[in-house]
Symmetry: C2
């Protein structure tokens, strides 16, 4: 067993806040596996590299012998916010929640150790009677709840906050009571909620958790935090070529963060392009394997250095008897929505046999389409087979 | 059937707010019995004349063929506010709530018509699942809830508001949903809650109630609203002598309000003292009968005009072998707390055989006590019988 203080310092690597000061070292002195909580919101199934910053820190705890309690917020997701005044939490059906939760776990276990992870759904304890829930509400003051920064911004902007949204942190805090959390992790944007959990644990007579916040990874655009809705993300289930290509597109000044937060490494002493290739290879290797990483780099070179078509282009068969409506075709081939397809065409991001498609020609004559290569963006290709 | 507009105007007599404008007349046009709600808080069992202002208005609705739905807030009283930071709602045991509710009803039926009253306990619908309750919370914004005037005052004074207190109006509003209230009545201090009920009904797809607020009756001190805790009240179950005496003690300038709100009458054209006697007689007659009113006035004259002892003084037997501790004796004889008794003695409000008791002599020698008249305040007497 390492010295608790040294161990706490090691586990604090890369963290932004480790609070209260000294608490983690005291907990490590207990010399028992700590229960380390991560609450996740099953409103989106997919994990991107941004999520793996916290997951990797959890894995460090697991490797040191601690237990991760992964809480799927199925109850809170199901309640949602029916007022429709905010998109913060859409209401999901039970099926969507289960499906998202399953996908999320599958992806999370690319980082976490399955054997040291306890998965819990918060409906287990939050499906209580209204009297008990009101008892929970009595444990917090409105002033404290309104300190949450997103609320302060919304109050300033005169945007409504529903009573339900106000009390969400109470539900999340009660999760910590229910599972006896010793430590809770989250992004820096979760700091309020994590600290609030301490208050609720104390109100229920439990020892309060310590909290660790991790930096938010900036997305591939170099501007905003990585997020699916902003399109600046790299998904952990992206195919190797996609993953490598997206990582090659990040601004150079993001490299120190990416090396540090995703690989616990420093930027290698090399040309930026070479360093970025190493980042790409190592991340692809982590989520796929070494061969996949090499193939992805080769694919990248073929397209972007030698400007050739990829080695293997998937074929897609479409049935048609007359002109083909391009947005519908793109929707079918690449799983886009028609409006996304139309936008890509307008932006000049669609090619047929390497010729950029003009926004005016949405209905393509059937002749010449059989065997043509349809390309979307830089890295997605399909070869058309037309069945009449 | 009266003209709905004339009828609405008649029912609005003495009201402060009848909102929204014209709504009550429209409801009366439906030509069906309206469901008129009064929510009461079973934290105190006793009704005083202040409560009867609203109850009398409800009775007018009953006499016009409408139905009163009396909601006993047993659920909300049971939840209370365990934070202990506010005395606004003490937590009551189930037994206390049932006992208070029973006493309250018994007293309310001195004014209301039992046959046109539906009594409901709000635990019937508020004991819901936590999911349903959170759905209710999603129907209101925090900004709207914080508009409540008592909150504005507490925010200014930097006094904490618990999340539970914040959402109380939602629970009260849901009562209106559950019982399909057409009209809700309350004191002017309830205006926010009554209007809030409209929002919640609308959010649940129900037609919103109209609301009527009645003035708050000023207490016998002429300064603050009548309230048990301020001691400036006349209880509807007070004995006739007490009721008459307390009414005779009000400042003259309260007479118009008392005549108008308690008797729907104008102050008679007479000397103030004569007018006040009429007020006393009529109120006593209402809650007791004519003979009791006459006896109460005669009792008042004997004590305060002719300064004689009351005709009949109740005897009280106490067992004692040595000196008698006066605060304990007063507690036993008059149902006071010992600290109330001590305060009354200090203020010179206690007499034994018409001699004011000095605050220094709290232990009375037994000799001479047998047969003595113990008097508290102006109107309470007991004749002691000492059993050795």
């Amino acid at each position: 067993m390492a010295d608790p203080r040294a161990e706490a310092e090691r586990l604090a690597t890369n963290a932004v806040d480790v609070l209260p000061e000294g608490a983690l070292a005291e907990q490590l002195e207990l010399a028992r596996p700590l229960r380390v909580k991560l609450g996740i919101d099953p409103t989106t199934p997919d994990i991107h590299l941004g999520h793996t910053v916290v997951l990797s820190k959890l894995r460090e705890f697991q490797d040191a012998g601690h237990v991760v309690v992964l809480i799927i917020g199925d109850f809170t997701a199901r309640v949602g916010d029916p007022s429709g005044r905010t998109a913060e939490r859409p209401v999901l059906s039970d099926e969507e929640i289960s499906a998202n939760a399953a996908t999320y776990q599958e992806q999370a276990f690319k980082v976490l150790d399955r054997d040291r992870t306890e998965v819990r759904f918060n409906s287990e304890w939050l499906e209580m009677g209204s009297g008990e829930l009101l008892g929970l509400l009595s444990r917090a003051t409105v002033a404290r709840l309104l300190e949450r920064d997103i609320f302060e911004r919304r109050i300033e902007a005169d945007e409504p906050i529903s009573a339900l949204e106000l009390i969400y942190p109470l539900l999340q805090g009660y999760d910590s009571v229910a599972i006896d959390a010793d430590v809770e992790l989250g992004g820096t944007d979760q700091k309020f909620n994590l600290l609030f959990g301490r208050d609720i644990q104390t109100a229920y007579g439990k020892p309060p958790q310590s909290i660790i916040t991790m930096p938010l990874l900036i997305g591939t655009d170099g501007a905003q935090k990585m997020s699916k809705s902003l399109g600046n993300y790299v998904g952990v289930t992206d195919v190797p070529e996609e993953m490598f290509g997206r990582l090659m597109s990040i601004p150079d000044d993001l490299m120190p963060d990416y090396f540090r937060l995703l690989l616990s490494a420093d930027v290698p002493d090399a040309e930026p392009n070479q360093a970025k290739r190493e980042l790409g290879r190592r991340v692809v290797e982590r989520f796929h394997d070494r061969a996949a990483a090499e193939a992805a780099e080769e694919h990248f070179d073929r397209l972007h250095v030698r400007h050739e078509l990829p080695e293997e282009i998937e074929e897609a068969t479409v049935a048609a008897n007359g002109p083909v409506h391009l947005p519908a075709l793109l929707a079918e081939l690449f799983g886009l929505s028609r409006s996304e397809a139309r936008r890509l065409i307008e932006q000049g991001g669609v090619r047929i046999d390497d010729r950029v498609v003009d926004g005016g020609e949405l209905d393509l004559p059937l002749d010449g389409l059989d065997g043509a290569v349809v390309q979307v963006g830089k890295r997605r290709h399909k070869r058309l087979r037309v069945e009449r």
